[in-house]
């Protein structure tokens, strides 16, 4: 071959190869599988998705700790599992490096960031809602969206207030972050703690300043499909509870009576504000907590909803029920606090008791999951069985009976965060502390005693009379007892004990149970047993410790709670 043809061959090869060569945008392979700044502004529905994110950190109370309710942290119950997270609380070993509930700190600030983000993002929301839309031909949709935006903006403030309320309940004063922090400015992100009272003031102001933008009552509006978002009633209930906590001994060491008065006024607002119309559920105490009853009831002020599931049943059905795990075992400390409504039955300690006992707790000899629970030696529910109840009791409240876990049965399990029954007790407590059991100088709807009796009478007309108790301190004991019974397992007990500063005494008592022995068919004798000892380090444990990482990262601006 001569050189000419060699050149030609190489040239042809070169051209062929180069023609399949690189393209200009070869290194631009980004594929946007998620929204970007550019795609968000073309889709107005993203505005409400950012709004919904404000609710993202709300906690479903049925999975508060150990994928179960928070009850085993308090003296209400004991976890079956030996390796539960509740144990860290039970043994008083919570510290800056070990706090099973410590992740909530960041979770709630995640929620706060989402609120802050949305509040900034939605400043020009109305223009955004007009995007890609003919506002002339679709005036109704446009108007609805604008209305929805007004609600969502107000709700974002309430969500943020809610997260702060949950934070101060655990940590005392926390840093108030009211705008989206930017990482670029390192110094500006160092925010010191505000005092507990300052955060309370912040929460109250947020609610008061934004309540006008809230929907009054979703259920009775033409937007019932939005029920579950914050409304005026739920915002006021939040405020009432925050003020009650702020008036309590832990946060009100000088016992400033005006704090109780404010708390009473706030609770009264929930009771009296026109259009809210909350009432106690009359279909039975146990039924209220089951299925979708709660979210359809006028007793419910705020509930965190979930699709039908079997979490709470799977966790807490007795181990002998196929699929059950025993879970939270109610303590005898709680059971023995249920009042008698008649004569003591020598052969059955669970007869003639406050009916809320049978509604909340599975006791030996009662029927549950389609069988009579017999925990005596050798019986189906023998307490010696592995992972059987450690206390002799199983949880009943919230649980739907007879769910077939084998067939993947599910039930509607809605977590009620605020309900009218609690507000009545909040009101009664604040009224009693502010004015005594029977005084009503402000002309509120009820006196402390009237509010209490609404709750007691709903439970049973046969409960022992409390008419003889007329001192504020005597009535306080009655109220504390009533909260323990009425609000059992609803994630109140632990926090009540803290704010009353009773935890140092109560949470150092051992958890008691009973061991049934079969005497004759259907008759058992019961031996008290000590299930577990408990440790609560007062006053240290009245607050959670900030995590060690947060203390270090704060560069000295965040002061740790005392004792940690």
């Amino acid at each position: 071959m001569n050189n000419k043809s060699k050149y030609l061959l190489v040239l042809i090869t070169g051209i062929l190869v180069l023609s399949v060569g690189c393209t200009k945008d070869f290194l631009n392979t980004r594929i946007d599988t998620n929204y970007t700044d550019a795609t968000i502004i073309t889709d107005r529905s993203t505005l409400f998705s950012f709004a919904a994110a404000c609710y993202g950190s709300m906690q479903y109370g049925y999975t508060a700790i150990d994928n179960n309710i928070f009850a085993s942290v308090s003296d209400e119950a004991q976890q079956t599992s030996a390796s539960s997270n509740a144990l860290v609380f039970n043994q008083g070993i919570i510290n800056a490096n070990n706090n099973p509930d410590g992740g909530l700190y960041k979770t709630y600030y995640d929620g706060i960031r989402a609120c802050n983000y949305f509040l900034t993002y939605s400043v020009n929301g109305n223009q955004f809602l007009a995007l890609n839309r003919d506002t002339i031909s679709d005036p109704v949709g446009f108007a609805n969206d604008k209305m929805n935006l007004v609600w969502y903006i107000a709700e974002a403030h309430i969500c943020r207030a809610y997260y702060y309320a949950e934070l101060i309940k655990r940590y005392g004063g926390v840093p108030i972050i009211s705008e989206t922090l930017q990482q670029a400015s390192a110094d500006s992100i160092l925010v010191p703690r505000s005092s507990y009272d300052a955060v309370v003031t912040y929460i109250v102001n947020e609610i008061e300043n934004n309540k006008a933008g809230l929907q009054l009552n979703w259920a009775t509006s033409s937007y019932a499909g939005n029920a579950g978002r914050f409304s005026l009633g739920s915002a006021l209930a939040l405020e009432a509870r925050v003020l009650l906590y702020a008036a309590s001994p832990l946060h009100n060491p000088s016992n400033d009576v005006t704090r109780w008065q404010k708390a009473a006024a706030a609770a009264n607002a929930v009771i009296s504000t026109a259009g809210l119309n909350y009432t106690l559920y009359t279909g039975g105490y146990q039924n209220y907590f089951m299925g979708a009853n709660s979210i359809g009831s006028t007793e419910t002020i705020f509930a965190i909803r979930r699709p039908a599931n079997s979490t709470i049943e799977t966790q807490n059905y007795p181990i002998s029920t196929p699929g059950g795990n025993s879970g939270v075992c109610p303590s005898d400390n709680l059971v023995s606090d249920y009042e008698w409504i008649g004569a003591v039955n020598p052969t059955n300690p669970y007869a003639n008791r406050d009916p809320r006992l049978a509604a909340s707790i599975v006791t030996n000899g009662s029927t549950w999951n389609g069988r009579v629970i017999d925990q005596s030696s050798g019986a189906t529910d023998d307490m010696a069985n592995r992972n059987a109840s450690r206390t002799g009791y199983y949880l009943k409240k919230f649980l739907t009976d007879g769910l077939n876990l084998v067939n993947s049965g599910t039930a509607s399990n809605q977590w009620v965060a605020y309900r009218y029954g609690e507000i009545l007790l909040d009101f009664a407590e604040a009224m009693n502390e502010a004015y005594g059991p029977d005084n009503n100088p402000q002309g509120y709807k009820y006196t402390a005693r009237q509010a209490l009796m609404l709750v007691r009478n709903r439970a049973s007309a046969s409960l022992p009379s409390v008419a003889a108790i007329t001192t504020a301190s005597g009535f306080r004991t009655i109220l504390k007892h009533e909260r323990r019974i009425e609000l059992a397992f609803e994630d109140h007990r632990y926090w009540d004990l803290l704010r009353w500063q009773d935890a140092g005494t109560v949470l150092n008592q051992p958890i008691m149970g009973v061991k049934p022995t079969l005497v004759s068919a259907g008759v058992w004798s019961y031996t008290p047993i000590t299930v577990a000892t408990r440790t609560f380090n007062a006053p240290t444990n009245y607050y959670y410790p900030f995590s060690h990482a947060d203390i270090v990262n704060s560069n000295g601006t965040l002061t740790q709670n005392p004792g940690y």
């Binding site: 061959l9 190869v17 399949v20 060569g21 690189c22 070869f26 290194l27 392979t29 980004r30 594929i31 946007d32 599988t33 998620n34 929204y35 970007t36 529905s45 998705s49 919904a52 609710y55 993202g56 709300m58 030996a82 390796s83 539960s84 144990l87 043994q91 070993i93 510290n95 800056a96 490096n97 960041k106 600030y109 995640d110 706060i112 960031r113 989402a114 983000y117 972050i177 922090l181 990482q183 992100i189 160092l190 925010v191 499909g225 029920a227 579950g228 979210i295 359809g296 909803r305 699709p307 039908a308 196929p322 010696a384 992972n387 084998v406 067939n407 947060d550 270090v552 990262n553 965040l558």
Partner: protein
């Protein structure tokens, strides 16, 4: 059992028959077209590789002129280890390559490889190139040694100069076998063997379990003897009348079969050359069930891995200017396993085997109406009857289809100027993994009734599901120039290469890279050598305009023995000094888990719809409301991590037959992409990634080989190597620790941080009420009692808590790896042995299944027989001799937390293979048209020296899951002329 054995014998019979037929067929075939009686070209028989050259990117280079740190192993050395994954053949062969054994699970047994240890706490993945094109582990892991000419490890800046952002963690460079000019050769080799676990970490039987359980439950009862198992029950366990199931025996058989075979054709002339390899491998698992045929409806399955490799490498010369290469490498991989897997691995079955006590239930529930062995036992606590897991759930199969095709064309432009050439190449690599399952379910029974939510479901076929599909296309152009004039010689090339990887998933995605690189090696008088290499590398992971990086490297060598003052002598024949320095990059990065692209596109702000937690309405909700959040805070400046590498080395030949090589290296990393941990919790959920991390890695490698002969009939070789690498994290944006001794920073990556133990609490440490006597630090991990582990209060604040942690051992990756061995040939016999060992690493016993005893309904192991216990009434008193903390049935956060108590020395020395072979006399077999016939037997991993293995029966490298395997094999090699 009988059926299994029969099936197994049938299987062996069929294998032998098949291979015999193949052998005869091949002989016949050859007999027909061979007449020449010239001696066959022995290119494939001797180890006369082009060992005078060093492989590398852009060009191979004579060993003498190589300036880089590169170690190389050859195909037939790899073949000595009988294993389906090529990664497991690399132990002890390549100084500077740490090979860490994974599980022995068929089809999932690839080892983890680390080049010069760990240089970054970011992504430490090395890159693999086969014949100049990048491949991934999927392709590399199951290549067959038969198709491999050589595997090299490129380690220093000189060797990695042209790899740009892919070089920082080292490169594995594979060259496949090509045809030779000469008479055709057909070679055939096959081997078959039995594989068995190196060790099984087995629990105690029912009697042992119950005895210890009584101790444990009594310990939980305030140390008052309170047995759960009565003497009668214990006696029943002892005399065999109680439930006592050895789950390991039920599920695991002693041996699994392994067979593989290769057929290879090699030959060529001036115009064309070919090398064709066909390979088949079949590995059976250890599960005690037969492997049902694909059409069967039975629910059972053993593990199985089958592999078919085909590679054809063809060379053509045309018109004196063109050289073309066409290489096709295809592979089928079929895996099958019981349908009790997570991510295809049956590791959870091995956890069950460890954690399910012998006395929980019999295998079958034969009570009531279920007299026959048809109903598996099972309870809520122990739902997954191990026998049920392999017999009742059906099976899962997983197929991989892989095709690699390379085409390259070289134009020799000598007619323009001598030594100039141009070459172009194109490669595609297609990978498909799919699964097809036949799944069943079974109900769990106790006492004739079901105990869990499971129901019996007869076997159903799942539809074919593609798990992974990808195409990888690469192309390059090279302009090269080689020239010698006078004392000067230059070898150089400049190259443009691009790579486009396209993966199919929920969204198809592309990973594109471009690399403009070059390399020039200059030698003066063949004594002074200088080399410059560079890469200008573009990655699509970073923002446009900010995505190219320049990575230069310089290196040099001085051949001292070439100097005139260095007279030829009988001691030192060759002495070379080498040095290199250069920069490379690493673009692989960790990323937010909720973002799909693995550290890519972090410059772009993304918002994600999270799974909703907002449900609304006045009835039971079903669907939730969409929630949108920023996924992280975008960083427009994000870029590849950088590595500065320094290496000095020397190569020596002493006494004519002793070759020694030594390298010393330093690798400084900076800009490791790191999540900013310094943000306070109240910042909220948005993470930020910055290029701020720093690490240092340094070490050495040394290797030596001595070959000689004794008389004419005996030749032998002795060799050894050692490699050491130790790293330090200089900065990782760690949350500043309370005390310096708590920190990860300043320590080796992966250093275990934990408490320091001080023996056990004794009775005398406690007051009568059970509280600790004053003066002792109070542990904050729960109430302690005698027999619990006592910890040191490092900060002397009176309590033992998370601030009392410090370094308590060494990282999991050994710092020192070494190997030594030798071979000897005499009158037809050959014998070889390879020892390989590692040291400088710790094993955390808490990661061994069952180490926590009865906690969480666990099991009892021999190690727990050394537990602290004091029950004088039962004649139990181990207070002085205890080697394990007191037993408990409850969670014990004091004892079972990371501490030096649980850290064990992971050093080991293992015989990787021993081989004894016999080659028939060439003259005698030539009538069979054979030029070589060798039979041999070998042992893989037969002996391991390790304190862990000796003391606890735990393999030092694989502490959980499917056990690592040892094997006994026989094989035959036949080469037809």
């Amino acid at each position: 059992m009988n059926r299994n054995r029969l099936n197994y014998k049938l299987y062996i019979f069929k294998s032998v028959l098949l291979w015999t037929l193949l052998l005869i067929g091949a002989i016949q075939l050859m007999a027909q077209n061979k007449t020449s009686n010239k001696t066959a070209d022995t290119v494939l028989l001797k180890n006369n590789h082009a060992q005078e050259t060093t492989p590398g990117r852009l060009f191979e280079i004579g060993n003498q002129r190589s300036t880089g740190a590169i170690s190389t192993a050859y195909g037939e050395t790899l073949y000595k280890t009988t294993t389906p994954s090529i990664t497991n053949t690399l132990y002890g062969l390549l100084p500077g390559l740490n090979v860490i054994q994974g599980s022995g699970e068929p089809g999932f047994d690839a080892a983890s490889l680390y080049i010069r240890g760990i240089g970054t706490y970011g992504v430490n993945g090395y890159k693999i190139f086969v014949d100049g094109f990048e491949v991934d582990n999927n392709y590399f892991n199951y290549m067959t040694p038969a198709e491999v000419e050589s595997i090299s490890v490129l380690k220093d800046a000189a060797a990695l100069a042209t790899f740009g952002m892919e070089g920082a963690n080292g490169v594995i460079w594979v060259v496949t076998k090509r045809g030779h000019i000469g008479k055709p050769i057909i070679s055939f080799q096959t081997r078959t063997g039995q594989q068995s676990p190196i060790t099984l970490y087995k629990p105690l039987n029912s009697f042992g379990y119950a005895n210890l359980y009584n101790q444990a439950i009594s310990n939980d009862n305030g140390m008052v003897w309170n047995p759960k198992y009565s003497p009668a029950q214990l006696q029943a366990y002892q005399n065999g009348t109680g439930t006592n199931v050895d789950w390991f025996n039920q599920v695991v058989k002693n041996n699994g079969a392994y067979t593989d075979g290769d057929l290879m054709f090699n030959g060529g002339d001036q115009n064309s050359k070919y090398n064709v390899v066909f390979d088949y491998a079949n590995q059976q698992g250890l599960y005690n069930v037969s492997n049902s045929s694909i059409t069967s409806n039975t629910q059972t399955s053993d593990e199985q891995f089958q592999r078919y490799n085909l590679r054809a490498n063809l060379d053509f010369n045309m018109f004196s200017i063109f050289e073309a290469k066409v290489d096709i490498g295809g592979r089928l991989e079929n895996r099958k396993s019981p349908n009790y897997t997570s991510n295809f691995s049956t590791a959870k079955l091995w956890n069950d085997l460890a954690n399910y006590p012998s006395n929980i239930y019999p295998v079958y529930d034969t009570t009531g109406t279920n007299g026959a062995n048809t109903h598996f036992s099972g309870t809520t606590i122990y739902p997954n009857n191990p026998v049920g897991s392999i017999q009742g759930l059906g099976w899962q199969s997983n197929s991989v289809r892989e095709l690699l095709g390379n085409f390259s064309l070289k134009e020799k432009l000598d007619f323009i100027t001598k030594g100039l050439y141009l070459s172009e190449a194109y490669s595609f690599n297609s990978y498909v993994q799919s699964t097809y399952n036949k799944t069943g379910t079974y109900a769990r029974y106790i006492g004739g009734t079901t105990t869990t939510a499971d129901k019996f479901g007869s076997i159903v076929a799942s539809s074919q599901v593609a798990q992974a599909q990808s195409d990888w296309r690469q192309a390059w152009f090279t302009l090269g120039y080689n020239k010698s004039f006078g004392n000067h010689s230059i070898i150089s090339a400049i190259n443009y290469q691009n790579s486009s990887f396209r993966g199919e998933g929920l969204f198809p995605y592309k990973i594109n890279r471009e690399n403009i690189s070059g390399r020039a090696n200059y030698a003066y008088k063949n004594k002074y050598i200088a080399e410059f290499g560079f890469s200008y590398y573009g990655s699509d992971a970073y923002a446009q305009g900010h995505n190219w990086g320049f990575y230069p490297a310089i290196s040099g060598a001085w051949i001292i023995s070439g100097e005139s003052f260095f007279k030829t002598n009988s001691i030192l024949q060759f002495w070379k000094l080498r040095a290199s320095v250069g920069k490379s990059g690493n673009q692989d990065a960790n990323s937010p888990s909720n973002f799909a692209s693995n550290g890519r596109f972090l410059y772009q702000q993304y918002y994600g719809i999270n799974s909703s937690t907002l449900y609304l309405g006045t009835t039971t909700p079903t669907g939730g409301v969409n929630m949108l959040n920023p996924l992280y805070i975008a960083n427009p400046n994000v870029f590849a991590e950088a590595s500065m590498k320094y290496n000095i080395g020397t190569d020596l030949t002493l006494f004519k037959n002793l070759a020694i090589s030594f390298d010393l290296f330093l690798d400084k990393r900076s800009g490791i992409l790191t999540q900013d941990n310094s943000l306070p919790g109240y910042f909220g959920n948005n993470v930020v990634f910055n290029n701020v991390g720093k690490m240092t890695n340094k070490g050495f490698e040394v290797s030596a080989s001595y070959s000689n002969t004794i008389g004419k009939k005996v030749s032998y070789n002795i060799n050894g190597m050692a490699a050491f690498a130790k790293n330090t994290i200089d900065y990782e944006a760690e949350v500043p620790p309370a005390y310096q001794y708590n920190a990860q920073t300043g320590r080796a990556y992966g250093t275990p941080i934990g408490l320091v133990s001080q023996g056990f609490y004794q009775l005398t440490d406690f007051n009568p009420d059970g509280s600790l006597k004053s003066g002792q630090p109070l542990p904050l991990f729960g109430k302690v009692q005698p027999g619990d582990i006592k910890y040191k209060d490092l900060d002397n604040n009176g309590v033992v808590d998370q601030n009392d942690v410090t370094a308590i051992g060494k990282p999991a990756l050994p710092t020192l790896t070494y190997a030594f061995g030798g071979s000897i040939n005499f009158i037809g016999f050959d014998f070889g042995i390879l020892f390989q060992g590692a040291s400088g690493n710790s094993v955390n016993l808490l990661n061994v299944p069952g180490m926590q005893g009865f906690v969480n309904n666990g099991n009892a192991f021999p190690i727990q027989q050394g537990a602290w216990a004091y029950y004088p009434s039962q004649n139990i008193d181990t207070r002085a001799t205890a080697t394990y903390p007191r037993l408990t049935t409850l969670a014990n956060t004091n004892n079972y937390r990371t501490s030096d108590f649980w850290m064990q020395n992971g050093d080991y020395l293992r015989i990787r293979n021993i081989e004894l072979g016999y080659s028939f006399n060439t003259q005698k077999i030539s009538s069979l048209l054979l030029s070589k016939l060798r039979v041999y037997t070998n042992l893989v991993n037969p002996v391991t020296f390790s304190s862990l293995l000796k003391n606890y029966n735990i393999d030092p490298q694989t502490i959980s899951g499917y056990p690592p395997l040892k094997s006994f094999n026989i094989g035959i090699v036949a080469v037809f002329k």
